[in-house]
Symmetry: C2
Subunit: 240 residues, 2 copies
């Protein structure tokens, strides 16, 4: 069933702040997208809208989309990649930012490698990377932990462990939370971390009101930002 | 000596493959750069050439550059940031890729935060991020370790530890090496890692002959790529 030459899979970044694609998405990404008509998307509605704003030359209704989200089974991924085996190039789109980092795209990428399909990552915005660049922490050694546990006690334990590792190993500790829980996470960080531990918050980055700030916990305590329902990345670091 | 309103510091990405700025650098980065005339650069020669190719409207000889590299002392950074305190915006440029990740830019960023100077990270290519996107490994949990020790025995110990952590914690382990030592590092990885451990290599990414491939160690052993003097990122992961 395989063509002599399978297609390629492009990992397509989306903006991380609304309507900023004209600013943050490099020109070659737009050119590549405009040549594709098969997409594996975490959110098909977001993907269609994005392709429309990037001026895809075909009517969006004629493009083919399949849903690759956290509910996608490995067996479905196999089916999704059949057009690629037949020589068609495809694009993987996340809901926001870069595919494969903290989203279900990795499942398709893993399968692609096993079957020698070429995977090409494209340059785009990543909130994790932007926050790390601007934190002023150790960029030679860092760890990303994704979402912290929802359970209160477990989350406290994990935060204490991350803070300890940040001081002990001089390793920047990065984590995220769903936007509606960001304020609660901030409160917990401010109540349990040491006064001199450095906390960097990257809030709504690449948008007009976005910022990245690094302060010791005791300074954040005096001046709490509002993060409720806003996308944010948190970084802990310890240095004297 | 401080103006009422200090300037901002932009963290400016450079391409990671030669002459790809037209493709990988987003439009807003060019616009911002064209409005700046003060730069802290890891390599002033590279920086001048880059600004020229991006069409900076001023004669490059009239722009002000200071060198911010691994030899820069904290006291020099203080001097370098004086123009920012006086209200001038500045740009930090690395030798390649994104400032602040595995380069000396972090020192200036750290000082900027301590003095409430706004730091704005701009979107651009990062070899670490591209390789991570395309590896198909765990993007919810990963650690970057920078350069491994040069000493043979120490390096072996570190690699064994990273491989163990990758399997045990399902945490993707990322590291780099200077291009002329990449082939040696590959040989060591292939000789000491377990046959089923997954190794991803991102070689010369964003250039025409670049690629990202993930294979078990035993498959790499049968088909060794040539990485000598080529920029590369290495990732280890363990999963059955």
């Amino acid at each position: 069933m395989c063509a002599a030459r399978p297609g390629k899979i492009y990992l397509i970044p989306l903006p991380i702040a609304a309507n900023t694609q004209g600013e943050v998405i490099p020109a070659y990404v737009k050119t590549i997208i405009q040549g594709l008509d098969y997409f594996l998307a975490e959110n098909i509605r977001t993907a269609r809208r994005y392709l429309r704003t990037l001026g895809h030359p075909q009517p969006i209704a004629q493009l083919k989309f399949v849903c690759l989200d956290k509910h996608t089974q490995a067996s479905q991924v196999v089916t999704y990649l059949q057009p690629i085996f037949q020589g068609i190039d495809g694009g993987i789109l996340t809901e926001s930012g870069c595919p494969g980092i903290a989203d279900p795209g990795a499942l398709a990428v893993q399968y692609a490698h096993q079957h020698h399909i070429e995977v090409i990552p494209l340059v785009g915005p990543s909130a994790i990377l932007l926050a790390l660049m601007a934190a002023g922490f150790n960029g030679q050694s860092f760890a990303f932990h994704g979402y912290l546990p929802v359970n209160k006690e477990e989350r406290k334990q994990v935060i204490k462990k991350l803070e300890n590792t940040a001081w002990r190993l001089k390793q920047t500790q990065i984590f995220i939370e769903t936007p509606y829980r960001n304020q609660t996470l901030l409160e917990v960080l401010l109540s349990i971390c040491q006064p001199h531990t450095l906390l960097c918050i990257g809030k709504n980055m690449t948008s007009k009101d976005g910022w990245v700030k690094t302060k010791p916990i005791q300074e954040w305590q005096r001046n709490k930002p509002n993060l409720y329902k806003l996308p944010a990345v948190f970084l802990l670091y310890g240095t004297v």
